[in-house]
């Protein structure tokens, strides 16, 4: 083969260089700050802090509350989106009237910016007096609920689930449609009922897609921020403060750079544990 030898270095290196910079510089700074006494309000106290920031963070009950909230939020939204997403994908995998349009409607929430979806839910649906849910509940004879006061975390879970259910649905549907038609046909010929089809043929085929959804969602949900920012601001009390919001409070509201950085390191470690599994899964399908 007659092929001009191409030096790929000048083509590839700019992208690699800026990404490397983007990855290493903030990471190194976070690590460095996490061992420093550094408060923007108090420029005189500086110097090496050792593990002080970590110690005070790890003995702070609000960190553990935030960790529990993060786990609750990530776990609940993943459960809701994966379970409902699988069922809906099975539904939308069937032929029915107006499928293309119905599909467009059902994935629409994913394209709504987080601040808009949080405010639609907070004001127009969940408002304890004028909200639509309050009206529906009272017309069925129930007491209306002060959603963000009584069920703050549940409310956040509902909003984030609404946004991300379409994501799970889209990916699981794509995976489902790649299932071999012949295999389905064969199972049907052998007399498999729809329920059996779902549990013995479709679900095993989906397992990889489901794990991809879970991993990607975990990484995104560790950083849920805007929804909390515009609805509860982490409250009442610490009820909806997740790790992301705690770090935001520490850094941009309390100016405690050292403490916030220690929190950042914890977030990075958590995300990396998930990321390792995700990258392994992706690597298995990557053909170069």
């Amino acid at each position: 083969m007659l092929n001009r030898r191409v030096n790929t270095l000048p083509l590839l290196s700019p992208a690699v260089f800026i990404l490397l910079l983007w990855m290493i510089a903030p990471l190194a700074m976070t690590l460095w700050f996490s061992f420093q006494r550094y408060n923007l309000l108090n420029p005189l106290t500086t110097g090496f802090a050792g593990f002080e920031n970590y110690k005070s963070l790890l003995t702070d009950p609000s960190l553990w509350k935030a960790m529990l909230n993060t786990i609750a939020l990530v776990g609940s939204v993943i459960t809701v989106t994966v379970v409902l997403g699988t069922l809906l994908a099975a539904l939308f995998d069937q032929e029915f009237f107006g499928r293309a349009v119905a599909r467009m409607l059902i994935i629409a929430p994913f394209f709504v910016m987080p601040t808009v979806s949080a405010l639609i839910w907070k004001n127009m649906l969940m408002h304890p007096v004028n909200g639509l849910l309050a009206f529906l509940m009272s017309s069925f004879g129930f007491k209306s609920i002060d959603w963000f006061g009584e069920w703050p975390m549940t409310s956040i879970v509902m909003i984030v689930s609404w946004q991300w259910l379409p994501f799970a649905l889209l990916i699981l549907l794509t995976a489902m449609q790649s299932l071999d038609q012949e295999q389905r046909e064969a199972a049907r010929m052998d007399g498999a009922r729809p329920v059996h089809m779902f549990f013995y043929i479709i679900l095993p085929h989906l397992s990889r897609a489901i794990s991809v959804v879970i991993m990607i969602e975990t990484i995104f949900f560790l950083s849920v921020f805007a929804e909390i920012f515009v609805t509860t601001s982490g409250g009442p009390g610490l009820a909806t403060t997740n790790l992301a919001f705690l770090i935001y409070i520490r850094s941009l509201l309390e100016y405690d750079v050292g403490g916030a950085s220690a929190g950042g390191v914890i977030a990075i470690v958590l995300a990396n544990i998930v990321a390792i599994f995700l990258i392994r899964t992706v690597a298995r399908t990557l053909e170069v």
Binding site: P26, A102, I107, V116, A118, L119, A175, I247
Partner: protein, 273 residues
């Protein structure tokens, strides 16, 4: 035949109920945008009302809406262009001249996407402050280009691999340089792929709300941050909030519908096909 038709009717009913249920909050917001403020908060809620365009007029007259919309366009567009400028050569090199290290380079790029933004909020904020980038479009353009770069490279890479190699090789034999090859051969061939990659990048930038809320205050605040300002005192103006929100999400909703397929590819890094 009859039975399968009945089954189809049942499935149609269930699926459409689910679709309408999921779309309802958006529909409800759309409706509220055409109500007067009083109609919007009335209980029981109004399904039938006299539509008005006053909210759209009111919102557009507010200087900061126009500014926020302009910022969103400039920032998403700018970041996407910047990401493409860096990604196209990189994806070209990896798609057509793979080496031993191509695989690990791609995976490493993907891994940078896994860095949680909160983990680096503090240093990025301090760097931005020191370089005077807080509340500037430039700052957000740079950040968005960087966080989307892995997805853009990855998507372009998969599209470029599908381009007919023979044409590129023919060009190469006729003595085309890499630059000529990218501009005159690859770009026309892979244009649909590049376009949908750009579309996905614009969607992601447009809806990004972590960095925009933390790094902008007023001058460079895009629509995500502008809408957030409705959460406090102005939260009572539901109709205006709805009109502003409708305008903020409409273009992206259309882009999203156009790029459904690429979305799956882009968001799962090809792990789900």
């Amino acid at each position: 035949m009859k039975r399968s038709f009945n089954k189809k009717i049942v499935i149609t009913l269930i699926a459409w109920s689910a679709a309408i249920f999921m779309f309802f909050p958006i529909f409800w917001m759309l409706l509220a945008g055409f109500k007067t403020e009083i109609d919007a908060i009335t209980t029981p809620p109004l399904l039938l009302f006299e539509p008005t365009l006053e909210n759209y007029e009111a919102v557009q007259q507010r200087a900061n809406y126009i500014k926020a919309a302009t910022n969103s366009v400039m920032i998403s567009g700018g970041a996407t262009l910047l990401a493409l400028v860096f990604s196209i050569p990189a994806a070209y090199a990896m798609a057509f001249f793979p080496t031993r290290r191509t695989r690990s380079t791609l995976l490493w790029m993907l891994s940078t996407k896994m860095l949680p933004p909160v983990g680096v909020l503090v240093p990025v904020y301090i760097l931005f402050r020191d370089f005077g980038l807080i509340d500037t479009r430039t700052g957000l353009i740079v950040i968005y280009a960087l966080i989307n770069l892995p997805i853009v490279v990855w998507l372009l890479y998969t599209f470029f691999k599908e381009a007919p190699k023979e044409i590129l090789e023919a060009g190469r034999m006729d003595g085309a340089t890499s630059r000529q090859e990218i501009f005159y051969l690859l770009m026309p061939l892979a244009l649909p792929g590049v376009a949908s990659t750009a579309l996905l990048s614009i969607i992601l930038c447009w809806n990004e709300a972590f960095w925009s809320l933390n790094l902008t205050t007023s001058d460079a605040a895009p629509l995500t941050a502008f809408i957030a300002s409705f959460s406090a005192p102005e939260g009572l103006f539901w109709a205006k909030l709805s009109a502003a929100s409708t305008m903020a999400i409409a273009p992206i909703l259309i882009f999203g519908w156009l790029s459904q397929r690429q979305l799956v590819r882009g968001l799962t890094f090809g792990a789900v096909k």
